[in-house]
């Protein structure tokens, strides 16, 4: 440090800023590149949603079983059409029915997970009780179990509870999923145990500690859990397929028929409409949660 004393302070500052900036640019560059790479295949979706059937069939004919040439893709359709959107948005009331089903289902699940999962996660993080590790391990294993395995026993449970073919058959198991617990737990463990001890010593009640310390400090974990849960349940396929018989209660993810090339354009249009709320949620979710949790923290 001293050896550099000769260098004027502003040079140091400037250099520091430059270095910082360079790092930032560099990092930004890489990240943007990766993001673009990730999003590139998705660029096919808006293009595809505006492409008419004939064009689609023509450029994809090699895939259809014609042994020659290679498929191509037009990011910007040569013969764009809004036919698919028209069909989807104007002519398909079923789409909206399922859209609201999905919205409702996802909202219910997320809310339920907050209510149920948060305390559980807090319990694992803030208290040390016997069997905690094992129990937590069990949670993780239960989280990891493939759905095929749980299908049959869950079906039996739901039937006994008379929930089969009711939206709750999807919502309830999802609410009690161990997955958000697992993620939120991570958020909470990063809180220093000393802080909690200090609070307890100060005579704060457990609830007070939970709301005033736990929530604000674990907010990143909560936020992550919610965003990931949203992703998980926004496109939930297998559970509703297995537990909901009545089509009127289905979520949007079951709307798309078995995709065939002639349906592709329509499918892309649906995908666009499915993606839009997701984009909003991404954009808003992070901040909203931060704010909301901070608010609870203050109040509590």
């Amino acid at each position: 440090m001293r050896s550099r004393a000769t260098v004027p302070a502003w040079v140091v500052r400037l250099y520091g800023r430059w270095r910082k900036k360079r790092t930032a640019w560099f990092a930004t560059g890489i990240c943007v590149a990766v993001a673009v790479l990730i999003c590139a295949p998705l660029l096919m979706i808006p293009g595809g949603s505006l492409m008419d059937g004939a064009e689609m069939r023509q450029i994809l004919s090699p895939i259809l079983g014609d042994g020659r040439g290679f498929a191509a893709w037009h990011l910007i359709p040569v013969y764009p059409t809004i036919g698919h959107f028209y069909r989807l948005l104007i002519e398909s009331p079923a789409f909206y029915q399922l859209f609201w089903n999905t919205v409702g289902m996802t909202a219910a699940i997320l809310l339920g997970q907050l209510v149920v999962g948060l305390p559980s996660a807090w319990a694992f993080a803030a208290f040390r009780f016997r069997g905690r590790d094992f129990l937590f391990g069990l949670y993780v294993v239960l989280m990891l179990l493939p759905f095929q395995v749980m299908l049959l026993p869950q079906y039996i449970v739901l039937q006994k509870l008379h929930l089969y073919n009711h939206p709750a058959a999807v919502i309830l198991p999802a609410v009690f999923s161990t997955f958000p617990v697992f993620i939120m737990y991570r958020g909470f463990t990063q809180i220093d145990a000393e802080i909690l001890e200090a609070a307890r010593l100060d005579g704060a009640g457990e609830l007070q500690i939970f709301f005033r310390i736990g929530l604000p400090l674990g907010r990143m974990g909560i936020q992550a859990a919610m965003v990931l849960s949203f992703l998980e349940y926004w496109n939930l396929v297998e559970q509703p397929m297995a537990f909901l018989e009545e089509q009127a209660t289905w979520p949007l993810s079951l709307y798309l028929p078995q995709i065939t090339i002639s349906q592709a354009g329509f499918a892309f249009a649906v995908a666009v409409m499915v993606l839009i709320p997701a984009l909003f949620v991404f954009a808003l979710g992070q901040d909203a949660l931060e704010e909301g949790i901070a608010y609870i923290g203050v109040k509590g």
Partner: protein, 444 residues
């Protein structure tokens, strides 16, 4: 912070738009739904009116036989023509005919002469026999009368002699003489009687002989007159010739024109001018006095409505005549079913075409729907209204239901199927084409 607000606003807008669009799309969806009216199938009968055009045909045709050996000069009618009694059918060649007539007349004359001679001779023989007979009988009758007179005289003498009977006391001689006398008388009387008997016998004999002679002569005469000796064929030949002569004569008087004998419809003409006719039919016609049949072809659809024994109305174009007849037979033929109706004699004279009309009320069917409700789905089918579970909840939708068609008229159709019931809602009217499974709404 500002941008976040914007995003919030955007999100809210998006959701609002989705909400609005939810309604819009529902409205669009509903407005595109076919509207339908429905009714339950009812139990009813079906009144049917079937009209079919057909042809009138004669049951058995009459023939005009050609004049054998004559040349047709001109044919005056054609098939399908109407003929009345006296209508000229054809003309024969006069020249040819007259030549034939002349020849025949000559033959006849010769034959007549020959015949006359024969007859005269026979008549003479008869007269002679009669005369012989007459003379013999007269002679014998005279002799009989003579002998009978003699016999009567003898009888008188005997009577007289009997009065001269001697006294009882007369002498024997007297008595003997008287007795002898009396015996003589007896003998003579018996002799005379025998004589008369003989003459009588002879007369009978002669008479029989004479009769036989007369008979023979008469037979010969009548044979001569009747020409019996020509034999059967000979007679018919002569007759034929005479008839032909008469015919030809008449024909020649008619200037060779042959006319119809009765009214009817010409069915077929089998001669041409210049043809020499044989003894075959040269023309066939339906006599007005014969009966006719009406024949028509009905379609498969009409078939179930028409039965043998049904009463139908027949009308014939261009005539006010309308008759009720019963159907005699229905036969399946290529392309349909031929209905035959035998008409009463005299009905449909001169008609070749007609229209059959059948009004029938069917039995009462269990399920009758408006005919509009039927549609074709690889068979007859109706659309029935059902509730269907779908993504949009419970909707009204139509399902195509195949049915058997029992009967049908323009407005109603009787249908049957195991699944039909009075509760089923059959779509009777819709404002656009329906498809199986389509969601629909009710007409207000």
């Amino acid at each position: 912070m500002d941008s976040k607000k914007k995003i919030w606003r955007g999100f809210a807008l998006f959701m609002a738009a989705m909400l609005v669009m939810t309604y819009v799309s529902r409205m669009v969806y509903v407005s595109r739904m076919p509207r339908v009216k429905w009714s339950n199938p009812t139990s009813a009968s079906i009144r049917n009116k079937i009209t079919a055009e057909g042809t009138v045909e004669a049951v058995n045709a009459q023939a005009v036989i050609g004049l054998d050996g004559l040349l047709v000069e001109k044919v005056c009618v054609a098939a399908g023509d109407r003929m009345e009694a006296g209508t000229v059918l054809y003309e024969v060649n006069m020249e040819d005919m007259l030549a034939q007539l002349a020849e025949l007349s000559a033959q006849e004359e010769a034959w007549q002469k020959q015949e006359l001679a024969k007859r005269r001779e026979a008549a003479t023989n008869t007269t002679r026999a009669q005369e012989d007979y007459d003379t013999n009988v007269t002679e014998l009758d005279r002799r009989i009368a003579e002998e009978t007179k003699k016999l009567e005289e003898l009888m008188e003498d005997l009577d007289t002699h009997m009065f001269r009977i001697p006294e009882e006391d007369a002498s024997d001689e007297i008595w003997i003489a008287w007795a002898d006398e009396r015996l003589r008388f007896d003998r003579e009387i018996a002799e005379k009687g025998r004589l008369i008997e003989d003459i009588q016998l002879e007369k009978d004999k002669i008479l029989r002989q004479a009769d036989r002679n007369i008979e023979d002569a008469r037979r010969a005469q009548s044979a001569a007159e009747s020409g019996l000796e020509l034999g059967a064929s000979g007679v018919s030949q002569v007759r034929e010739r005479q008839e032909r002569i008469a015919l030809l004569t008449e024909l020649s008087e008619n200037e060779g024109k042959v006319s119809a004998e009765s009214a009817g419809d010409v069915l077929e003409v089998m001669m041409q001018s210049g043809m020499r006719m044989g003894a075959d039919a040269v023309l066939r016609y339906a006599d007005d006095k014969g009966s006719r049949t009406f024949r028509t072809v009905i379609t498969q659809e009409q078939k179930p409505l028409v039965h043998t024994g049904d009463v139908v109305q027949l009308t014939f174009p261009g005539s006010a005549e309308e008759v009720s007849e019963t159907i005699d037979s229905i036969v399946q033929e290529s392309g349909g079913y031929t209905v035959t109706i035998r008409l009463e004699p005299g009905v449909a004279q001169g008609r070749t075409e007609g229209v059959m009309e059948l009004n029938s009320t069917s039995e009462i069917y269990d399920f009758v729907v408006p005919a509009k409700a039927l549609h074709n789905d690889g068979g007859n089918a109706v659309y029935v209204l059902e509730e269907k579970e779908g993504i949009l909840g419970t909707e009204l939708s139509v399902r195509s239901m195949t049915v058997r068609l029992l009967d049908k008229n323009e407005d109603y159709a009787a249908v049957a199927d195991e699944l039909l019931s009075g509760d089923i809602k059959v779509v009777t009217e819709c404002d656009r084409e329906l498809e199986n499974g389509m969601a629909v709404k009710l007409w207000d």
